[in-house]
Symmetry: C2
Subunit: 101 residues, 2 copies
């Protein structure tokens, strides 16, 4: 597995961030990473096919929402909260404070 691209969050637009979070599966992933801390893709799995989940992680990663590091056969994902807070003050806190649907 080659290393994955992680953008500088300063270069990410607000529209890109909202696009990444504007999907129920991706928003749920972000919420769980915020609440439960870093974890693998498979532990975050849900109702979609694993290839689709991989696609969702790619979008989250390329929007600067998550950081993924290799660990054995797994990829451990974490929310880039501090960087997002700096780039988009108050946004993630407000989003994460909204009650689940």
């Amino acid at each position: 597995m080659r290393e994955l691209f992680h953008p500088d969050v300063q270069q990410v637009s607000l529209a890109s961030l909202l696009y990444a979070l504007g999907d129920p599966v991706r928003l749920e992933i972000a919420r769980r990473l915020a609440r439960e801390g870093e974890q693998s893709c498979s532990s975050l799995c849900c109702e979609v096919a694993k290839s689709t989940l991989s696609h969702h992680f790619k979008i989250l990663r390329e929007a600067g929402v998550v950081f993924s590091r290799k660990e054995g056969t797994q990829r451990i994902n974490s929310l880039r909260k501090a960087e997002l807070d700096q780039r988009f003050p108050g946004v993630m806190d407000a989003l994460l404070a909204v009650a689940d649907d």
Copy 2:
């Protein structure tokens, strides 16, 4: 022109709101409505075809972001700020405070 559907904002999910705002054109429309107040579709026009703009307004409307009322041949659009604030406390304020890209 028949009347348009406007959902109860209480029924709108956060993912739907973020999906609606997760497009550069639609985000710009919301920002301008917040900054400049209500206005017609055409005064908000931009780089996209008018049929595309009409589609963007439909998405914003169905996500509870904008309210559109008829006025002559125009449609006057406004941001449903108070209702959004009640449903998603702090979210719109944080988003609108982010500097333009």
